[in-house]
């Protein structure tokens, strides 16, 4: 690559953030299209990066694209250091795609448009930064940078209980990041010479850090990441945040932000603290199991469509945790990454669809609908498609990831894991239960013509918004090899690192 593509990825939306701030606030069209432009470029860059990585590096492990390290704050050894491998490339792809789609989905925002879009671009810069950063300070900065726009996006443009949801989200996450900060400081002060370079620390931490401190740092990082995932019982911020957040923010929240948690574990905790990982493997798998079953059961009880999808995320991210508990199995870890990607597509799409319905009906109460299949067949068809993808129907991406997680964890030659996985498979039944129940109560049955006779079909913009997600879900469900090839070498290497 003959230009610093990662820096471009991060700084273009950042420039967009500033540029949009300087636009006159009444020129709504200009603001929208400028924002679209500033998120379109990173999307194309992320596609290009993925393509390039796939063709040149997918067979080999390690950081191939690095930019830096350039000394940034020398006295405390802070560097500007970016790099990507098979874990981050799919996440950048997902972030680029979902950010652009979300911006498009936000064109119907009318309140304080300028601030909304500039916050959104800042958020995008933060997200892309997290997936590229290889220096802890930088990582932490990007991590916190996301928090602020997210807080405002929920708190200002959200639903009726937006303040509560926003502050809950903010405090939860801040609580977690404080633990992360302490853990980073432990690493910094214990290393000699002091360093914040994540790659170096992955190499050296197991040898220089005392056992007890490794456990402690692992737990601190885990709290920070677990809140993001969210791992049960840290999940209660999620349904509130989702229900109150505007559609596009929900998409980003579910599609990208949740993945930061599992990404952090794969990038930091697991390779850096292999001993602690082994120590906590079974409890982590158990947390995954609880999330799968608990999330599915609670989804079943939901009356609000968006909350149902939100809780389904808790359940689906549980598969990732289960896989992370089965750290010896490359198949399970691949399944984890695949699930992160696939869940981003499917749940992102589901939230977009919920938004489309809400825009028309001004309610998300499942019981308020019925028989909509008669009136809006395209919407119904797509919603059924995404529901099927979500419940893991073969031929779509969700099945591939769930299956890899299950078979990897089941055969990871740990009897406890085999049992845990065996129970976790019940999730496929429960997921079918709540998804089909939802489909039935909204789209099937008798149609209330008086109440919903005026409902209109999806327009072209909305269809185009979800079409790429539908296509990708099917494509990587039928032919997952490109995605698994990108991750393969990196993940094999990761499992070796963890086996140290």
């Amino acid at each position: 690559m003959d230009f610093p593509i990662l820096s471009y990825l991060i700084f273009i939306p950042l420039i967009g953030f500033i540029a949009v701030m300087f636009l006159p606030k009444e020129k709504l069209g200009l603001i929208r299209w400028t924002s679209a432009f500033f998120s379109f470029i990173p999307m194309i860059l992320s596609f290009y990066l993925t393509y390039h990585y796939y063709y040149n590096f997918s067979g080999t492990a390690g950081m191939f694209y690095t930019e830096g390290p350039f000394s940034w704050i020398a006295p405390v050894h802070v560097n500007y250091f970016l790099g990507v491998d098979g874990i981050s490339v799919p996440m950048l792809f997902l972030t680029g795609l979902l950010s652009f789609l979300s911006i498009i989905a936000s064109f119907n925002i009318v309140n304080r448009v300028k601030e909304y879009f500039s916050f959104f671009l800042l958020l995008e810069a933060g997200m892309l930064g997290v997936f590229c950063a290889l220096d802890f300070f930088l990582f932490y900065v990007f991590w916190e940078v996301m928090l602020v726009p997210m807080y405002f996006l929920i708190g200002v443009w959200g639903g009726p209980r937006k303040e509560y949801a926003a502050i809950k989200f903010f405090l939860y996450t801040l609580f977690g990041s404080l633990f992360m900060l302490v853990a980073i400081l432990i690493l910094y002060f214990s290393s000699d010479p002091h360093t914040l370079n994540m790659l170096e620390l992955i190499e050296t931490v197991p040898s220089f850090l005392p056992h007890s401190l490794q456990i402690l740092a692992f737990v601190f990082f885990f709290i920070a990441f677990a809140i993001k995932v969210p791992v049960w019982p840290f999940h209660t911020w999620l349904p509130d945040a989702h229900v109150e957040a505007p559609t596009a923010v929900s998409v980003i929240l579910a599609g990208v932000l949740l993945k930061m948690g599992t990404y952090g574990m794969l990038r930091v905790s697991w390779p850096m603290f292999p001993e602690a990982t082994r120590f906590f493997a079974i409890p982590i798998a158990l947390l995954g199991l609880i999330a799968i079953i608990y999330g599915a059961l609670v989804s079943m009880a939901q009356k609000d469509l968006k909350k149902l999808v939100a809780y389904s995320s808790v359940s689906h991210m549980g598969y990732c945790m289960l896989a992370l508990g089965a750290w010896t199995s490359v198949t399970a870890i691949t399944g984890c990454m695949f699930q992160m990607f696939s869940h981003g597509l499917i749940t992102g799409a589901l939230f977009l669809m919920v938004g489309v319905l809400y825009d028309r009906a001004h309610t998300r109460e499942i019981a308020a609908f019925g028989g909509l299949g008669v009136k809006i067949p395209i919407f119904t068809g797509l919603m059924v498609l995404f529901s099927m993808a979500s419940l893991g129907l073969p031929g779509m991406s969700g099945f591939v990831s769930e299956f890899m997680v299950f078979i990897g964890a089941f055969t990871a030659s740990a009897p406890n894991l085999t049992i845990i996985t065996g129970i976790a498979v019940l999730g496929v039944v429960l997921t079918a239960g709540y998804m089909l129940r939802m489909v039935q109560r909204i789209f099937l049955g008798e149609f209330n013509r008086e109440k919903w006779g005026g409902l209109t079909e999806m327009n072209v913009r909305e269809i185009l918004m979800v079409a790429p997600l539908a296509a990708l879900t099917v494509i990587i469900g039928v032919y997952p090899a490109p995605l698994t090839n990108i991750m393969k070498a990196t993940l094999e290497n990761l499992v070796n690192l963890m086996a140290r």
Binding site: I407, V425, G445
Partner: protein, 647 residues
């Protein structure tokens, strides 16, 4: 040039995509041309490959086609690949053939439906999935087809989704199948765990060395696979979805819920025969569940009034029969019955569809009767199918059913009890089927005048499929004439390489099967007994439902308690509702309202309140008065210095 196998499922997929994406944009004629044409092409290619297959020497009858690597990750590796051997060849011909006939029939049956395009798109998707299921060369791809047919079943049961009962039935079918899938998946995991592959050939080759015969793991794996089969093939305890599935259009009931999809479980077990042969306990479970289901469903069928429901319970019962065959290690007999059943049961459903069509949607037999004359093609074809299912000598059902009866008695895994109950079931089958025929076609018409005036035979596009199926229902059995009747059971011989030759060189169970130890005279005797009993039960049906109709009512009143239980289908649905569904729904509400909202959020909000209170308490300290700050600062400095000095 060698044609690849994947063409067989590819045609219906193309048909699905064309009709599915251009929904509502095409003329009906074109829609049906695409749909029927694609399935017809599949059938033609199926025949072509069948011919290729039988031209190969007997022991090497396998055609493989690897399309691409599907899931590669770590140690796990699975292909999209197809395998044609005698077993899958039979299935392809049955599936594509019967599907084609039913597609044609549907042109007439669905002609006035506004969802015409959608219907045919789903139907093609079904054929595609079913062909994937039977052609897959590994368990995972088979599972893809398995789930695919489940999806189509869901979509087609709920085809008229504005009707709440139809939507409910679709959901029920899907969820019950998912319960089965839970078992199926776990079974796959155990197989992969022990063998390191899911490819049929590898699994069956390695199983004898990687599993301990009769051990816990192989027993668990086969039992779990069987759980999957009970879901798909509607056996105890997961059978309750199938009767409700009759909410779908009748051709769908014929194709999916009688002839093809529901037999997938039988196919899967026959396919896995090597594994089951290693797990005698599982075989016994299969046989017991099969026979119990066969009997239970037959008793329920005695008392139902809805013509399609009778047929649905009959299907469950016949599937139970096939499982009995598998359970006594007579896999070929199970597949034989699967095939003949596909012909006559499809015919029965299509015939009932023709009746329903003639009566403007009436499905209740209490409002039928005397249709014999009005339906000169439907009636005789229906009668042929009924004779076939009853097991009257000379028709297809006789051969396959008798084969199962004989094997349930003579096999090393069989017993006289198994045979006796199977025979009882056969008698009940003859009884309820003739009850159905007498109530529908004979006696006085009990429909209202308007309906009676509009009664008519169905159009040619529907009656020709009936005729073809009737021919098949007669001759279908002649490929498997048993030795005792002078035949050489070519069907069994054809399947032999799959059942226990190729994958299992030792041929132990071939030996076990051959040494049944009973003579031809025993077989003839049992055959005679069953034929006589069946004819007696047909007479009984005649007696109660045609000759002396009051007697039926009297009988019912006499045993009103029993009748209520049978009519209420043993209240299994209610039981499941109370024992499983209710607790889950209540439990989910509890977890949400109590655990999530009250406990976790309560803790967190409580913590926030406490922190808020503390900070409120501390607020006076931040008075903004500089002097106070300076004083506190000074005190602090003194304390620190003092501490350092003392230390």
């Amino acid at each position: 040039m060698e044609l690849p196998l994947y063409l067989i499922p590819l045609f219906p997929l193309a048909g699905f995509l064309l009709n599915g994406l251009l929904i509502g944009r095409l003329h009906k004629r074109i829609i049906s041309l695409i749909a029927c044409g694609s399935v017809g092409l599949s059938f033609i290619y199926g025949v072509k490959f069948f011919v290729d297959l039988i031209s190969l020497p007997e022991q090497s009858r396998v055609i493989e086609n690897i399309v691409f690597t599907w899931i590669p990750s770590g140690h796990f590796h699975v292909n999209i690949a197809f395998l044609l051997d005698p077993l899958s060849a039979v299935m392809v011909l049955v599936v594509a053939g019967v599907s084609f006939i039913i597609h044609i029939y549907s042109i007439g049956y669905m002609h006035d439906d506004k969802g015409y395009g959608r219907y045919f798109a789903y139907l093609n998707l079904f054929v595609f999935s079913m062909l994937i299921l039977v052609l897959a060369d590994n368990y995972l791809l088979m599972f893809v087809g398995w789930e695919g047919v489940g999806l189509c079943s869901y979509l087609l049961i709920g085809f008229w989704f504005e009707k709440k009962s139809a939507a409910d039935a679709g959901k029920k079918a899907f969820i019950f199948n998912r319960v089965g899938d839970f078992g199926f998946l776990l079974g796959l995991f155990i197989i992969f765990w022990q063998i390191g592959s899911l490819d049929f050939i590898a699994v069956f080759e390695k199983a004898p060395t990687m599993f301990v015969a009769g051990g816990g793991l192989i027993t668990a794996a086969t039992l779990l696979l069987f759980v999957g089969a009970t879901g798909k093939s509607a056996q105890i305890p997961l059978y309750v979805w199938l009767p409700d599935a009759m909410e779908g259009p009748t051709p769908v009931s014929a194709l999916i819920h009688a002839a093809t999809m529901v037999t997938a479980g039988v196919y899967m077990i026959a396919r896995s025969n090597v594994l089951y042969m290693m797990a005698p306990v599982s075989l016994a479970v299969v046989a017991i569940v099969g026979i119990a289901t066969a009997l239970l469903a037959a008793t329920i069928a005695l008392a139902q009034n809805d013509i399609k429901r009778v047929l649905a319970y009959s299907t469950i019962s016949q599937l139970g029969y096939m499982f009995v065959a598998c359970g006594v290690a007579a896999f070929a007999a199970g597949i034989f019955h699967l095939m003949t059943h596909a012909f006559f049961k499809a015919l029965l459903f299509l015939g009932s569809g023709s009746v329903i069509h003639a009566l403007a949607g009436q499905q209740d037999m209490r409002y039928m009767g005397g249709l014999k004359r009005a339906m000169p093609i439907t009636f005789p074809t229906f009668l042929i199918a009924t004779l076939a299912i009853a097991g009257i000598p000379g028709l297809s059902g006789f051969f396959s059913k008798d084969e199962i009866l004989w094997k349930s008695f003579s096999s090393d895994y069989g017993s006289i009890w198994l045979w006796a109950i199977a025979l009882l079931t056969a008698c009940l089958t003859a009884f309820y089927m003739f009850r159905l025929v007498f109530l529908t076609f004979y006696g006085e018409g009990r429909m209202d005048v308007r309906t009676r005036e509009h009664m008519h035979e169905s159009p040619k596009v529907m009656t020709i499929p009936l005729t073809i199926l009737a021919i098949l229902a007669v001759i279908g059995g002649y490929v498997g004439i048993p030795h005792v009747l002078g035949g050489d059971n070519r069907f069994e011989k054809f399947l032999e390489p799959v059942m226990h030759g190729r994958y299992h060189p030792s041929g132990e169970e071939a030996h076990a099967l051959a040494s049944s130890g009973y003579g031809a005279s025993t077989e003839m005797l049992l055959m005679a007994v069953s034929v006589v009993l069946i004819i007696i039960f047909i007479y009984l049906a005649y007696h109660f439902y045609l000759k002396n109709t009051a007697a039926a009512g009297k009988l019912r009143d006499r045993f009103s308690g029993v009748h209520k239980i049978i009519y209420g289908k043993y209240f299994v649905d209610e039981l499941y509702g109370a024992l499983i569904v209710r607790p889950i729904v209540n439990g989910s509400l509890f977890l949400w309202k109590i655990f999530d909202v009250l406990i976790i959020d309560g803790l967190i909000n409580g913590m926030a309140t406490v922190i808020g209170d503390i900070s409120t308490g501390l607020r006076p300290a931040q008075s903004g008065v500089l002097r106070t700050y300076a004083t506190i600062f000074l005190v602090g400095v003194v304390v620190v210095i003092g501490y350092l000095l003392v230390k």
